[in-house]
């Protein structure tokens, strides 16, 4: 599985949820466990539908932020995807 060129997809049993105070979590309904997200990651999460690879997710973010995304964004996304894959929350389709 290649997180750089592949298009990650959220695993079907995973639910994205906003909790008190805007905190967001991913809930894996198969095992009943929640995983907290940082404030940037919900943007990434919404694009994990199997149609976008890492480069296009960053491109969309750049567009959303009118060109000024932090230098750390690619690294942040790489970590985020690797972590979700390790937790069984996403799979990479292509």
């Amino acid at each position: 599985m290649n997180l750089q060129s592949g298009c990650p997809t959220a695993n079907p049993p995973v639910v994205f949820r906003r909790e008190n105070g805007g905190r967001t979590v991913l809930f894996n309904s198969d095992i009943g466990k929640s995983h907290g997200l940082d404030p940037v990651s919900p943007f990434f999460w919404k694009m994990l539908d199997g149609r976008y690879d890492a480069a296009s997710i960053l491109g969309a973010m750049r567009e959303e932020c009118e060109g000024c995304i932090p230098d750390t964004a690619p690294e942040h996304l790489r970590h985020f995807l690797a972590d979700l894959e390790k937790r069984g929350l996403i799979a990479v389709e292509c």
């Binding site: 639910v15 809930f27 198969d30």
Partner: protein
Amino acid sequence: MRVPFSPRKIDIDITSRCNLRCSYCYFFSSDGDTGVDLPLESWLQFFEECTRAAVLEVCLAGGEPLIRRDFRQVIEGVVRNRMRFSVLSNGTLLDNETAAFLKSTRRCNSFQVSIDGPGPESHDRCRGDGSFEKALRGLQAALRHGLPATVRLTIHRHNLDALDEAARLLLEEVGLHSFSTNVASYSGLCRQNSSEVELSVEEYSRAMVRLEALERKYPGRISAQAGPQASLRMWRKMEKALADGRESLPDCGFLRSCGGVFATMAVRSDGTMVPCTQLNHIALGEINRDPLMEIWQNHPELQRLRERRDMPLERFDHCRGCRYLRTCRGGCPAMAYNVIGDENRPSPDACYRDFLAAGGRLPA
């Protein structure tokens, strides 16, 4: 207290039918007892809305949920919609096949069976002849198939002296890790059978003594959110605070016993959304007609119940001058409604001062 965007959990009375008629049942003759069961399609449609609202769990109760012939399809709908589930059951209709099916879904958080005593004498008295054997068989089927089975034991006049034996049966013989207790309380059918089943103050005090001894014998294995065991925990805290010279306890002095309206909503078997299965007289809207999120976020009745936590106890004549005023939380709103017809008042069944005045005592 902040309210999440949508309820985490929805308690659903999936049916208003039951194969038993327990004499203290909170459901029958309450406003939830509508006699109407929505068809499967309506529930499946509602589950889709639940998913869109990111509801994580449903708790299926009734009536007896397993009485529905399409119970499996209901569960399949829950699973398909990425939710987990719990079931509150009398256990008598759970067979091996259904237990295996529920286990296979991997989404069952708990399957609760009601067992009220160590044998038919204490259990069947209020639940009907033959129900103990069937409930125990159901519980054993659940355990055999690896379901996260739990037991709820409702304390009443006829099982009070059988608590030790019931704990031995459940924790030693059946091998449950734990079970919970509660008490027959003034709602539903219990209102009609109150003198027959409800504990007197003296019996309530005795139940506390027995439960405290059992907690010592089986540490951490018997829990309660209502009834004598829960009252004992709260009232001991209140006494200790006074003995230590502390004037108040955190989150006390206001009507703050209930946090339900901040995380959970409920639906009656006829599809009416209500704040809680015990506050089923407060109709908030209809499923598949009124948007769940809109009701959850903006319904004035829900807001009113949420604001209850800002009502100081000193506002109520009954509480004025009470030495426990700043260490008390006023009890469950549904019980307040059942007993005095107003959920925005302290509940008489949770009033420690009244309990003492009526001759009640905490264990020595």
